[in-house]
């Protein structure tokens, strides 16, 4: 199993008592799988994603990537795991505004000490159709273009897993579809495991597995997602 959780739980303390954001969850995702997590706003999808990616720590239970328990690692070691194995795509793109498209894509590779960062970044930007936008800054790009830069950035380190949080949530539907196509094409070409949080059931259907999150409880969806 590439990703495995056992009784993974997240609680937060509020003034009105303990809030169970994620009920104890067991989940296995194998290499190369594409998985969509759907659910209403506030159902805990993003929390699960942050735990799976090691961005946040669980209150209880275990989550492991490549058989390494993230709970046993400190912040630095978790960052290393992300640098080596994980790519991200966010709803709000989260590009660094003062870096060009090319520099944004190069960044993770550079942080990982990859000497061919620039060449790989150019290639990936070519793949997403932005060869002529290399020196543009995020504020000079449209929403769709920004998300394509983000996709290129996500693939630059040839990650094993790609986490996507509402990747088309900030885009109009036509642009959204183009970005989806691109994402799935690239994913297929690289054989990356995709874990995607979305409330768009159409998008979710394009994944091999769909999980539904409802008030912190995760269930496997079989049959019709909608």
């Amino acid at each position: 199993m590439l990703i495995q959780t056992t009784q993974l739980t997240k609680n937060v303390e509020t003034s009105e008592g303990i809030l169970h954001i994620l009920q104890p969850t067991d989940l296995q995702i194998s290499a190369g799988e594409t998985v969509a997590i759907v659910g209403a706003s506030g159902s805990g999808k993003s929390t699960l994603l942050s735990l799976l990616a090691g961005l946040d720590l669980a209150s209880d239970g275990k989550v492991s990537i490549d058989n390494v328990n993230l709970g046993d690692l400190d912040e630095e070691q978790r960052a290393k795991v992300r640098a080596d194995k994980v790519g991200f795509i966010f709803q709000s793109f989260l590009l660094i505004p003062s870096l060009t498209a090319l520099e944004n894509v190069m960044l993770p590779a550079e942080l990982a000490g990859n000497k061919e960062a620039e060449q790989q970044a150019r290639e990936l930007l070519g793949n997403v159709g932005l060869s002529d936008r290399l020196t543009h800054y995020p504020n000079q790009l449209s929403g769709g273009e920004q998300q394509r830069v983000a996709i290129a950035r996500a693939f630059v380190g040839t990650p094993k897993i790609l986490f996507a949080d509402e990747p088309t949530g900030n885009l109009d539907s036509a642009t959204g579809h183009k970005v989806e196509d691109l994402l799935f094409e690239m994913n297929q070409a690289s054989g990356t495991t995709l874990v995607m949080v979305t409330h768009d059931t159409e998008l979710a259907k394009r994944c091999q597995r769909v999980l539904r999150m409802d008030a912190g409880k995760l269930t496997e969806v079989t049959g019709d997602v909608g």
């Binding site: 942050s50 630095e76 870096l99 550079e110 949080d165």
Partner: protein
């Protein structure tokens, strides 16, 4: 790799103006420190150089014995100019008359600073004279012409030598400010000194070596010489040393400029501190993205430290250039305005400025940077996350330590730095507390107000914690502004008042008792404003509480005999000018005991600094010897004397019963405008023995000191205004960012632009007004300390600042808030929402 990433980030951020505030703050602090340091250094050395003429040299070594020749050689090697001046009392004979004179033998080159003026006849127009008397000649003060019935060309006998009187000596730059040098001067050539036969072992002679030259050479020589000097025999001084009004005035000028500059430095540093916070906040997202993408902590640290260093170094370079240009411009202006030449400054200013920029950028950013590096990666999903706020003490420690260090770095004075810092820290604490109280109170008031007000008050209350910190920087900026303004208007005015247009410009000494009434009448007839006449009785103080004091003569005897007894007090080593009086003289304040009423019992009032030096107080008994008559009087009051006033001032004043039976001469001072100078001869013709001391030159110099200080403070004021605006701007901008989200929500919900703009404006107006009020309070406190402790002035309350402070605060901060808000509201709602996404 990280250096490359840092540079990429910096390049674009600079281009987009995102670092403008931080860069501007560092540039400003460097510019301010550099231009202040260079300008005040140049102004100060210019003033000192021009004041040096009253010493006839830059430095004087005064000695009781002839000075070691090797000391002089060393000075010549250092490239210093030298001249000899030997001064002693002697009797002079001419035309069968006899008079006590001060003989001054000077060598070629004298005076090294300033100029001699002579006339062809007594009271004839004087002219600047080059050179010194030839061998065999003497230049003689006009008073002696009367006393010895001399005429130019006569012969005067001093000791074994005879001199032909070739000129009337009308002005010597180094005559000093002592009005009690009542024997007229005879100036002769140094080469004639030995021939007079007056210099014998044990004779009371002052050997003076005059030095002049560039500052560094002087300092170097001074450092070499000082350890070899013997306090009992030698006295090394510059124009800034001593008790003369000019020395006091120069020292006060130095304190004024230093203090004003320090305020500028602190404010510039505050601007960096405020900007540093913002600098880090706007990188929160970037760090979260870095972390999400797998960046290691060390990598992030390196990227941002490099980023900050690059930004700082660029800003420092810009600041140095700007500062250098700015001071050059100001120096040119001052030079052409006052028609003076300001000597160039050393390298200290540059180091100081670069150091200030670097230290404040690094230290103020330390804590925000630590927080920045602690930003959790989860922020990419949850934008509210800002990491832990712990370790805030580190921030206060680093910031406080930095301000303290900068104060010390600039002033090199522990005491002044500590006093300013402790005062500032206390004020900050009070500001913080009072600020919170005010905000709480305003909430109550706001509940009854209209909707824009209510919104404003609610906002104030909700952001109480953030607001009270903001208020601290608002208040600090406004306070420093007010303080420099007050320094310029109030303190400087007090100082100027001591030198009014009609300040006495002549001292009158040696007036016979029989002439007093006639002279006063003459003044009245000719409409000359004269001060009181003070009787003068020369006398020595010989004992305190029946213990004899160490005197100059006895000291010399002891040097060869046994070591001085340590408990024995040091006397004055000379005759004092004693006076008596019924009323307390103007410019004197009794600080202990009481001024006497009509009282027949003998008593004396002593000047406070002398009392301190002699370790005496009320009830102690002083013994005096006047012309062989010895008597003892108790001290019944201690007076503080304003030595800056151009009035006759005395160490010892007796009541009438004690002294009035002794024979006395009188002194006074009066004002005669320059254009009426011709009347002097007519005025004093009937009183040939009276000597006049012309103070115009020294008064002009005193005025120049004040005027230049006033220019310097104006310059500081302008810098402080710029720094203040920058602090306010940075703070308003930072707090607008906090308000942004709320404004967007209200706007989206359909709140009219007018309501939002008003509520923001009101919020800032209230913040500004409270800050202004607190600032005035703090300023008043600081001013009180400055007036009473630093500048020896009377304390006063500055009522108009109580109006200016809050009004200016409300106006400036309110306007800035409104402008910042208007920019936000101009955007359409869709744009706004995207901005928050």
């Amino acid at each position: 790799m990280w250096a490359r990433i840092s540079w990429r980030l910096l390049k674009q951020e600079l281009r987009r103006g995102e670092l403008t505030i931080m860069a501007a703050a560092i540039v400003l602090s460097v510019t301010a420190v550099l231009s202040l340091a260079l300008f005040t250094e140049r102004l100060q050395s210019g003033l000192t150089a021009r004041s040096a003429e009253f010493l006839a040299a830059d430095r004087v070594l005064s000695s009781r014995r002839a000075v070691d020749e090797s000391w002089l050689e060393r000075a010549r090697d250092e490239g210093l100019q030298l001249a000899n001046r030997v001064v002693f009392n002697s009797m002079a004979f001419a035309n069968d008359e006899l008079a006590l004179v001060d003989v001054k033998a000077v060598s070629e080159g004298y005076p090294l600073r300033g100029e001699l003026r002579t006339a062809e006849q007594p009271y004839a127009p004087e002219q600047v004279t080059q050179g010194i008397p030839e061998a065999g000649e003497a230049w003689v003060a006009s008073a002696l012409f009367q006393e010895l019935a001399l005429e130019v060309g006569d012969t005067i006998e001093v000791g074994d030598s005879q001199f032909r009187v070739s000129k009337v000596l009308t002005y010597e730059p180094d005559v000093g400010f002592s009005v009690f040098t009542d024997s007229p001067n005879v100036l002769i050539n140094y080469s004639e000194l030995e021939a007079t036969g007056l210099i014998q072992p044990g004779s009371r002679v002052r050997y003076n070596i005059l030095y002049a030259g560039p500052g560094e050479a002087l300092t170097e020589y001074e450092e070499w010489l000082k350890p070899q000097l013997n306090d009992d025999t030698h006295n090394w001084r510059s124009i800034e040393d001593g008790d003369s009004p000019l020395a006091r005035s120069l020292r006060r000028a130095e304190r004024f400029m230093l203090l004003a500059s320090l305020l500028g430095v602190v404010l510039a540093a505050t601007a960096v501190a405020v900007a540093a916070q913002r600098y880090c906040q706007r990188n929160y997202d970037v760090v979260a993205i870095f972390k999400t993408l797998g960046a290691q902590r060390q990598q992030i640290q390196r990227v941002f430290i490099m980023h900050l260093l690059l930004l700082t170094l660029l800003s420092i370079a810009t600041g140095l250039l700007l500062g250098w240009l700015l001071q050059g411009l100001v120096v040119d202006l001052v030079a052409s305005y006052f028609d003076v030449n300001l000597p160039p400054a050393g390298s200290r200013g540059y180091l100081l400025a670069a150091g200030t920029g670097l230290v404040s950028a690094v230290m103020f950013t330390l804590y925000p940077l630590l927080r920045l590096i602690e930003i959790p990666p989860l922020r990419v999903l949850n934008r509210q996350m800002t990491g832990s706020g712990s370790g805030r003490w580190l921030h206060w420690l680093a910031s406080g330590g930095t301000i303290y260090f900068l104060l010390w770095l600039y002033s090199q004075q522990w005491l002044l730095s500590t006093a300013l810092f402790a005062g500032g820290a206390l004020a900050a604490l009070i500001l913080l507390l009072v600020g919170r109280l005010f905000i709480r109170a305003s909430r109550q008031a706001g509940m009854q107000a209209g909707s824009a007000w209510r919104l404003a008050m609610a906002g104030l209350q909700r952001r109480a914690q953030a607001n009270s910190v903001q208020m601290l920087s608002f208040s600090t900026a406004i306070m420093l502004l007010l303080l420099v303004l007050a320094l310029r208007h109030e303190l400087l005015a007090d100082w100027q008042e001591q030198l009014p247009e009609d300040a006495p410009n002549y001292f009158l000494v040696n007036v016979a008792q029989s002439d007093v009434e006639q002279l006063q009448q003459r003044f009245e007839e000719r409409n000359v404003e004269a001060n009181d006449m003070y009787p003068i009785v020369p006398g020595r103080m010989i004992a305190v509480n029946d213990m004899p004091v160490l005197d100059e003569v006895s000291k010399e005897e002891q040097e060869s005999a046994e070591a001085p007894q340590s408990e024995q007090r040091e006397g004055f080593g000379r005759e004092l000018s004693l006076t008596w009086r019924d009323e307390l003289p103007p410019n004197n304040t009794v600080v202990a005991g009481e001024w006497w009423q009509d009282n027949a019992k003998p008593q004396v009032s002593i000047e406070s600094e002398v009392a301190e030096r002699l370790r005496v107080g009320i009830g102690d008994e002083l013994t005096f010897n006047i012309g062989g008559e010895v008597f003892t009087v108790p001290i019944t009051s201690v007076r503080e004397v304003n030595w800056g006033s151009l009035q006759p001032n005395f160490y010892m004043i007796f009541n009438t019963a004690t002294l009035s039976d002794f024979p006395a001469t009188y002194i006074s001072s009066f004002n005669l405008p320059q254009e009426r100078k011709d009347e002097l001869y007519q005025l004093f013709r009937p009183f040939p023995q009276v000597s006049l001391i012309d103070l115009d030159a020294i008064i002009d110099q005193l005025r120049e000191v004040i005027e230049q200080v006033s220019i310097a403070i104006l310059f500081v004021l302008i810098l402080v205004i710029i720094a203040g605006i920058l602090v306010l701007l940075a703070q308003v901008q930072a707090s607008m960012e906090e308000r942004e989200k709320e404004l967007v929500i209200l706007r989206t919900l359909g709140a009219p632009a007018k309501l939002l703009s008003r509520s923001v404006t009101y919020e800032f107006v209230i913040l500004g007004a409270i800050s202004g009020f607190i600032a005035t309070l703090a300023m008043e406190l600081s001013l009180w300390i400055l007036q009473t402790q630093v500048f020896e002035l009377a304390a006063s309350v500055h009522w108009r600042f109580w109006l200016i402070g809050p009004l200016a605060g409300a106006l400036i901060v309110g306007t800035m808030g409104r402008v910042a808000c208007a920019r936000l509201i101009r955007r359409n709602t869709a744009q706004l929402i995207r901005r928050l996404a």
